[in-house]
């Protein structure tokens, strides 16, 4: 069996497609693309935050201080309109925002009523929205000064004004730890990532070692050797499992490596901040968040992947052996991937948690347990139950694959 395992592994490693899809893509190309997109997004956001916004005012003399507030604010420039055609001025990018003060509008502090201004702009992109937020912040500042002024005019204290503004202010005292809060977000993300990698990592070797061998005629050659069919299946399963698990581990390590590299390479406001946002940490890169997770929990995340990967390796190997040709096998893989992923989605429906019942649901249980391990709220007793139930299923599926492989109808299906 070991002989077949070594040979299959050697062949897989000599395949350029395997190297690209299982190693190069997840470890180098994806992280670089991921961080490059992050960097690009961050730079675009930064550009929108620092971009000089051209603002024009029409009849603003009736609102003293309003226009001045913009001109005093960094990043705003007051421009004069050349015509009454607001739309052309904005579309031709001569101005970004036009504030029009209608006739009869006065300072609210003086008129003691709500006044309505008109603003003209063109907000269609995410970057436009960021600029819009900057404009809103200035308007909010003006509103604040008017609110205080109104309070004074009505002989109200600052507290009275605050009460009018927000009758009840909630002061939050959340006993959830930072790890729990971050884990609630990062846990599912990690589970999605790991399970997707485990499934996709098993797919290509399964195709190669099943239907690939059938198509090349090497499967029949292999069946004529004194090696038992059971041993052949076990060796093939072993290679698929190794490739899948290796892909997950290598990708995770590469992800940690790249987070570490980019944490140093870029300012926190840039890419590192994006990477941090994935793990919910404000600074120091994603590694800081991981440092809160115990080695035992990280080890358990890896252990959970063992039966999970076995399940997918068995199913995919069976489908691949059953298929008449590569095209048919590939047609089976997509539904397996989709159906296999459904329980992961179910795991993150609000209210789903790891308990005696969910610990018995394949895949869902692993996803829930991963989330709890990352959050630090896991019940280790349930992990044991989960591992037993998943291992039984994985063992059952592997046995079934072995039985399946021995069927003439499957091996010589045409």
């Amino acid at each position: 069996m070991w002989l077949v395992y070594k040979k299959e592994l050697l062949e897989i490693l000599r395949d350029k497609k395997t190297l690209i899809f299982s190693i190069l893509l997840p470890t180098l190309i994806f992280p670089v693309l991921f961080f490059a997109i992050g960097k690009f997004t961050a730079s675009k956001t930064e550009e929108a935050e620092n971009k000089e916004i051209k603002v024009a005012f029409v009849n603003a003399v009736t609102l003293p201080g309003f226009a001045d507030l913009f001109t005093r604010e960094k990043g705003f420039i007051k421009v004069e309109l050349e015509s009454d055609d607001y739309k052309s001025a904005i579309l031709d990018k001569k101005v970004d925002y036009i504030f029009e003060v209608p006739e009869g509008v006065n300072l609210p502090a003086d008129s003691k009523k709500q006044e309505v201004l008109k603003v003209y702009s063109k907000e269609s992109t995410r970057l436009d929205q960021i600029m819009g937020q900057r404009v809103d912040e200035v308007v909010d500042a003006f509103n604040n000064t008017q609110r205080m002024e109104l309070g004074r005019n009505f002989n109200l204290t600052t507290d009275n004004v605050k009460a009018f503004n927000k009758p009840i202010l909630i002061e939050e005292n959340n006993f959830a730890s930072q790890r729990e809060k971050t884990g609630e977000f990062a846990g599912p993300l990690l589970a999605y990532l790991l399970i997707a990698l485990a499934v996709s990592g098993a797919m290509y070797p399964a195709l190669e070692l099943g239907v690939g061998e059938k198509e090349r005629g090497t499967l029949e050659t292999l069946l004529l050797t004194p090696m038992s069919k059971g041993q052949i299946v076990m060796a093939k399963f072993g290679v698929i499992f190794t490739a899948s698990f290796f892909t997950v581990v290598v990708t995770l390590l590469s992800y940690l490596f790249w987070v570490w590299i980019f944490s140093f390479a870029f300012e926190p406001s840039g890419v590192a901040a994006d990477a941090d946002s994935l793990t919910g940490k404000q600074s120091g890169g994603g590694l800081d968040f991981l440092s809160n997770i115990s080695s035992l929990d990280l080890l358990l995340v890896a252990v959970l992947l063992v039966p999970l990967t076995s399940i997918f390796a068995s199913i995919m190997l069976s489908a691949s052996i059953y298929a008449k040709n590569m095209k048919e096998a590939q047609a089976y893989m997509s539904p397996i991937f989709m159906i296999g992923f459904m329980p992961v989605i179910v795991a993150f429906v609000p209210g789903m948690e790891l308990n005696m019942k969910t610990a018995m649901i394949p895949v869902t249980n692993v996803a829930l347990a991963m989330k709890d391990l990352i959050k630090g709220t896991v019940d280790y007793g349930l992990i044991t139950i989960l591992l037993i139930s998943t291992a039984v299923l994985a063992g059952g599926l592997l046995y079934w694959t072995t039985v399946f492989f021995k069927k003439e109808k499957v091996l010589f299906r045409s």
């Binding site: 002989l3 077949v4 040979k7 050697l10 062949e11 000599r14 395949d15 090349r216 005629g217 090497t218 029949e220 050659t221 292999l222 069946l223 004529l224 050797t225 004194p226 090696m227 003439e408 109808k409 091996l411 010589f412």
Partner: protein
């Protein structure tokens, strides 16, 4: 020595196939109720040092018979003996004694020729030294040293077939089964294969040679077994088979013996 007695193999149709067949006129006498008798009654033998030609039209049941001989398929009934050992009862013995080569059995494309042959040597339990010695001998015999280090996916069809022969004989089997080994080969490559089979004539090996090329049978085979519609139609010396028609031609004898209607 190989003995095949009253061999039969029946395949059950799956639900989809059975549904397709239902209500249709039966054109092949091997079709039964929900089953297909691929091999109904095949008997022949092949002595040591003999080359037996296995003849028959496409779909006659030759490959199924050879797959049963090689243990890939289980016979429904009948007996296959290799040196007196029942193949179904002692499959490991049979697998060690048989070297099988067909047009369909391939090589591992990402392994070199040498690695491919050595791998199958290891699978048959040979030591490294035994493998090296045998590789040296076979590669010289088949003139393979020039491409021994090449990966199988870089080989020409002829090179590939020679490598496949080497793979099939690395464990020095007592029974050699060649299932249409010259199909798709050019004249020179086919000659290499035929010369190799010829070299085993008179040795201690039993060689079963399945082919559609009757001139190859004429040249190589001591006896022939003609299979048609899953049954042995003739088994005996090649000359006797050829003499069964007035022209004395193997070609005419073949056409006279088989069902000329193509079965669907």
């Amino acid at each position: 020595m190989i003995e095949i007695k009253d061999l039969a193999k029946t395949f059950a149709y799956d639900k989809k196939e059975a549904k397709k067949k239902k209500g249709k006129t039966v054109t092949d006498p091997r079709e039964g109720e929900g089953v297909f008798h691929a091999v109904k009654d095949v008997s022949f033998s092949c002595n040591a040092g003999e080359v037996l030609g296995l003849l028959g039209p496409n779909g006659a049941g030759k490959t199924t018979t050879l797959r049963m001989l090689s243990t890939a398929l289980q016979p429904t009934s009948g007996q296959i003996l290799i040196n007196g050992h029942d193949v179904t009862k002692e499959p490991r013995y049979a697998q060690k004694q048989i070297g099988f080569l067909s047009g369909k059995t391939g090589l591992y494309h990402r392994l070199s020729v040498r690695e491919n042959v050595a791998y199958f040597g290891r699978m048959h339990g040979l030591s490294r030294q035994q493998i090296n010695e045998r590789i040296e001998k076979i590669f010289t015999m088949l003139d393979m040293h020039s491409f021994a280090g090449k990966r199988a996916d870089d080989l020409s069809t002829g090179m590939m077939q020679r490598a496949s022969i080497a793979r099939a004989v690395i464990h020095e089997p007592e029974v050699l089964v060649f299932d249409e080994p010259t199909t798709g080969l050019d004249v020179i490559s086919a000659k290499t294969v035929l010369d190799f089979i010829q070299s085993y004539k008179g040795s201690e090996m039993s060689v079963i040679f399945s082919t559609h090329h009757l001139h190859e049978v004429e040249k190589l085979c001591d006896r022939v077994c003609l299979i048609d519609l899953g049954e042995t139609k003739f088994f005996g010396p090649t000359e006797e088979f050829a003499a069964s028609t007035e022209s004395g031609s193997l070609y005419d004898a073949f056409l006279a013996s088989v069902n000329n209607k193509e079965v669907a």
